[in-house]
């Protein structure tokens, strides 16, 4: 039995780096410090053993060499290829993906477009007053969770960074930190809040505007109730925000996927901007996939844009709503697709899944996923954090080296993508 400490959990954007793994006979047998989800990820079984190819509607086992050749053929044969996913792999692999997309003239998009894409659109309009998570842990005496449910989606967020975390400037963090939860339903997180604000669906924008009006001394124009929230509660919350010493607003896809989308987020950002005229306040999107923020970082330094980048005219072109995966698939424009470390058949609207089914589809993933069933080729790879390593960016932008616990015969995402890329260069004579 071997024990490895300080390992990094490759599940959500918290990127917890205090995981202990116990390894026996080349397998992880138990974990310590993990949440339920992380534990399940480390103990995951049933990996695909070798590349598989669908021939006449039946899956056939093939070699890695055949798989690489097939992938190259499928992608080079397309006019409008899409390379999607990326948030579940390390940055080094994402870099290869960008280079590949340059020579394919395709679209490269990451799962941001279906999580915090609208947040990025808002940030591109008004900026982002943020900080690292340790800054919140050490200083914040007020936490707001808006449209997010960390107990279910980021299970250790509250214990590592907010409610239950020790902080340098807080004697008794749990008692001295107030937590406000804003949601349309009473989630598990709402149940542990000091103050729960229940908003009617679609009412986030109006509530944020009301809070901003109160901050600016215009409370007389606020009606008795806004989107189901009483004026009394709004006044009280505005006061809590204004009088804290350090406030941190975390928000989730409750803002980005609801009516108003990026305009909701823009209003939240401007609310925080306003609060900075009174006290210190920051805002952080609760990023979902462990390395979705890394996908944004890599694509920003390599192409200039954090997601949805179209190289069909040679230069990088970015227009979310047009160059995003959902839209390209819904328009049935995309004519071949490579999915890396993502499962769109589980998460995309059915119409998009149908389009994926109808075009040549390559999946690079360790496991049989829902997307596997509609794919034409799958290449299994090592799991970053278990038998592959690489860089990831936490939800607050902190870059962390995700280490491996063991070696295996599986190639990493970087290795397999590099093979595909090099073969493409060879075929194209570049």
């Amino acid at each position: 039995m071997q024990e490895i400490k300080d390992m990094i959990c490759p599940f959500c954007g918290c990127l917890c780096d205090d995981i202990t793994l116990e390894i026996e006979a080349g397998k992880i047998v138990s974990t310590d410090n993990c949440c339920t989800i992380g534990n399940a990820k480390f103990l995951g079984k049933n990996r695909l053993k070798n590349p598989i190819k669908k021939i006449d509607g039946t899956w056939t086992d093939i070699t890695y060499e055949e798989a690489v050749d097939t992938a190259v053929e499928m992608l080079l044969d397309a006019d409008r290829p899409l390379l999607f996913g990326w948030s579940g792999t390390h940055g080094e692999a994402q870099c290869v993906g960008v280079h590949m997309n340059e020579i394919l003239g395709g679209v490269i998009d990451n799962t941001t477009s279906v999580c915090h894409g609208p947040s990025i659109l808002a940030i591109q309009e008004v900026g982002h007053p943020g900080c690292t998570l340790g800054q919140v842990k050490n200083r914040a005496d007020l936490i707001i969770y808006w449209g997010c449910n960390p107990i279910e989606a980021h299970p250790r967020h509250m214990s590592r960074y907010t409610t239950y975390a020790d902080g340098y400037f807080l004697d008794n963090a749990f008692r001295n930190r107030k937590v406000i939860v804003v949601d349309v339903r009473e989630t598990e997180t709402a149940k542990v809040a000091d103050e729960f604000i229940r908003i009617k669906p679609g009412g986030d924008y109006a509530v944020l505007s009301s809070l901003r009006a109160i901050l600016r001394g215009k409370s007389d124009m606020i009606p008795d109730s806004v989107a189901g929230v009483s004026k009394t509660q709004l006044m009280q919350v505005a006061d809590m925000c204004k009088t804290c010493s350090f406030g941190a607003l975390f928000f989730g896809v409750g803002l980005t996927m609801a009516k108003g989308k990026y305009k909701n987020v823009r209003n939240a950002i401007e609310f925080v901007d306003d609060l900075n005229r009174h006290t210190k306040f920051t805002l952080t999107p609760m990023r979902g996939h462990w390395n979705v923020y890394g996908a944004n970082e890599v694509m920003a330094w390599m192409t200039g844009y954090p997601y949805a980048v179209d190289f069909c005219r040679g230069v990088a072109f970015y227009n979310p709503g047009e160059t995003t995966a959902i839209d390209i698939l819904a328009r049935k424009e995309c004519d071949a697709c490579m999915i890396v470390a993502s499962d769109p058949a589980a998460h995309f609207p059915r119409a998009c899944v149908e389009q994926l089914r109808d075009i040549p589809l390559v999946v690079i993933d360790p496991f049989e996923t829902m997307t596997t069933t509609i794919a034409d080729l799958q290449i299994p790879v090592a799991v970053t954090g278990i038998d592959a390593e690489g860089t990831a960016y936490r939800m607050d932008g902190i870059p962390i080296k995700v280490k491996k616990a063991m070696d295996s015969d599986y190639p990493s995402d970087t290795e397999i993508l590099t093979r595909i890329y090099n073969k493409m260069l060879e075929v194209k004579g570049l």
């Binding site: 959500c12 995951g44 598989i52 279910e152 989606a153 996927m257 698939l329 609207p349 509609i374």
Partner: protein
């Protein structure tokens, strides 16, 4: 009856993410949480199946009570089930309306389908080798 469909992450859905074709995921993502008073109005008991429909499609789910929801809203964990009724329209933002879709809900005697069945209906083929 008309409802607003809200979809999202649950800890169980997260836990089964690496095994989406298994029983745990199938069970979790085919659940539909409804306010108890809405259940009453629909005339069904917790644990009975419902048919969720809109212009995009239809899907059979099992109804479960959740007092934390407002009346008129239902919650379904992320997965292939709820996406059967999510429209790909993004209003030019790249993001579908995952949290705010109008749906019609009625009792049904039809059975829930597993993700594999839904995928096979789409023409998907499972790999038998593992």
């Amino acid at each position: 009856m008309k409802f607003i469909l809200n979809t999202g992450r649950t800890i169980r859905q997260g836990k089964f993410t690496e095994n989406k074709l298994g029983q745990g995921y199938a069970e979790e993502t085919s659940r539909c949480y409804i306010h108890p008073l809405d259940l009453l109005e629909l005339g069904i008991e917790e644990g009975e199946n419902i048919m969720v429909t809109n212009v995009t499609g239809e899907v059979v789910l099992v109804a479960l009570a959740d007092e934390g929801l407002p009346k008129g809203m239902v919650f379904v964990p992320y997965g292939i089930h709820c996406n059967s009724v999510i429209s790909p329209c993004t209003h030019g933002t790249g993001m579908p309306d995952y949290k705010i879709h109008e749906v019609e809900i009625a009792p049904t005697s039809e059975d829930r389908k597993t993700p594999t069945e839904l995928l096979e209906q789409l023409g998907g083929v499972r790999y038998a080798g593992n």
